[in-house]
Symmetry: none
Subunit: 209 residues, 4 copies
């Protein structure tokens, strides 16, 4: 899909407001006002509020799928290094698109729209397949142990990141970091997460003879 400037503006605004107030808690008028466009434009461009959400999901899904694919094509590095790159890539992605991932988290709870259910399902499936292939490769090369549960591995990865996302404010307060700038704080958190998850992954994956 190629979106015009105004359409992109609407999508971005919607993403922000949906992540702040939820889908049902955001009115198309809110979005239109914030995006500086006419209310009718949302129906005009996207058909409906629901389809706006779908377009939003579709756009991000495409981005993410592309990222994952490009990452796994690099054949020069070993399985463990690749897994660590994958971890960092996940962390980076979620932290950069916080709003979208917040929306996705809620949408997984409130499953209504079949289009979005399918998009999330496809995304998950693609992720699992990619990681599965990587693990198989690592096992063949005797770098990863046998009997690895892919789903639990992904669970751990995504669970840790999203949980961090949900408790960022709490982290700030707990570590008394209220006064440092946001981007610096985010960098610290990403670093912390990276070290932590990589440690867990090594524990789960590394071959112990």
């Amino acid at each position: 899909m190629n979106y015009s400037e105004k359409q992109t503006q609407i999508l971005t605004t919607a993403e922000l407001l949906f992540s702040l107030n939820g889908f049902d808690g955001t009115s198309v008028r809110d979005i239109a006002d914030e995006a500086g466009v006419n209310v009718a434009m949302i129906s005009y461009y996207f058909g409906s509020k629901e389809k706006l959400m779908e377009a939003l999901f579709s756009r991000r899904s495409d981005d993410i799928n592309m990222q994952i694919e490009s990452l796994l094509q690099n054949e020069e590095i070993g399985p463990m290094q690749k897994m660590e790159d994958l971890v960092d890539s996940y962390i980076e992605r979620v932290m950069q698109k916080q709003q979208f991932f917040k929306i996705m988290m809620c949408e997984q709870v409130i499953n209504k729209n079949p289009v979005i259910v399918k998009l999330i399902g496809d995304l998950k499936k693609k992720n699992v397949e990619s990681i599965n292939k990587l693990i198989k490769d690592g096992q063949q090369k005797k770098v990863f142990r046998k009997n690895v549960d892919v789903l639990l591995l992904m669970n751990t990865l995504i669970g840790c990141i999203t949980q961090m996302l949900l408790t960022l404010d709490y982290y700030k307060e707990f570590n008394e970091l209220q006064n440092i700038p946001d981007d610096q704080f985010f960098e610290q958190m990403k670093q912390k997460l990276s070290v932590h998850i990589k440690f867990l992954f090594k524990a789960l994956l590394s071959y112990e003879a």
Copy 2:
């Protein structure tokens, strides 16, 4: 708070519907109809839809706080065993009150109601304090290593469980367990989670001299 039978009925129905359709996606009429009470009753008993949500949170928070306290009072078992009990207790609690934890997850994203923000914050604080005390004790007894990040530990615990909660359906499909009864499936998942998280905790905590 002591609730009458009808009030409890409303709270339970609200919890179900909020977890299915979200707060904004559930109308007081939906709740009243499903609970078999008059629409005006909700305002009459709880003041407003918002306050109904608060009451719902309050009730569950109290339950959870009580559980945690009682768990940590047992002084007969060692720190690692206690930590493992804590893990199982968390898993059990989340799986049993799935609906509430789904609501809580969404409410952490859509932060609007200050009362609920405070309740969630208090709950988190209490959890952290309890675990902190437990870790300190373990470190003193040289069972746990030094330099343990409590927040990351909790993150991992809660992240893994809630992520499992969000992807239960996906698990079922992936492992082709669509035909086994729900309670049996839940038991399997709890067992899987238990082993997995305990393994992670040992990796994160155990003292390596």
Copy 3:
């Protein structure tokens, strides 16, 4: 159906406005304003604008069905006299419920709502059956000739009356009766129609040996 005073008020107002501006040309706000009730009340009482229309049709259909039945039960008068009574009854009914019959005429053209299509169909069917029975009786008694086309007979009856309804204003102007009061004018028209249609019916029905 038993309607409250306010519901009746809404129905009557709706009937007036629908007959003046059509269904699509009348907004629920128009009806609410004119009836002196809140806009939300129409949805509250009738469910939707569409169902308000259905209720309106249903009410009148019931009335008309009852009238026809009671008319045909009188067994003391002969077939031709009964037919003439029927003609007068039709004229009276249409002239008295002009608004409803105007709506019905338009609804027969713009056939969309299946509920109303069915109501009109049932009404027509009942009418045809009643008249058919009357004609059969008259033929047995050698008062009516054979080979009477019931549908054409009804067509003539209803066609003449509704056409008169559509051109009342034109009649007034043509006969320069703009200055006489409405009810007096209506009486004249009814009288005119009565004589005219009875004459036609005699021509169509009377037995010529």
Copy 4:
């Protein structure tokens, strides 16, 4: 008025959709889409939706006026024959332009647009004048009786035809003619109507010494 091909296309499409869904039930977008033209074209060509309707009426009115005039100019046939020709001409016209006459019927009920009110009025006036002249001629030639009510005569003619138009589907069902092709069915109906109305007209007009 001389219309371009596209304008004619719009007019024809509008006529169809207005007859199916009414004026207010048809959007200019519906017309534009169905006609395969740009939405803005309708305003561009006709000024507004209202004026499109007026153009549509104007076009048909001109046609009809021309037809009537040409019919009455033929001086070779007698009054009764002429009247019968007139009847057939009416039937033919209405059946051929069903869509327009359906619209006109509704517009006579929902009188709002003064331009259309005037067009319908003029049409009616012209009709009455023509028939009046014909009757006068027939009375002079002692073919028609005295004291003929022109308006009632026209009422009967138009009433019977339009009522038939409204109940065509019902006729089909009642006479179990659902399986014969449409044009054949229309022919049957026209024939039926022709015989019926001519019979009525003879009863109303023929001189009885």
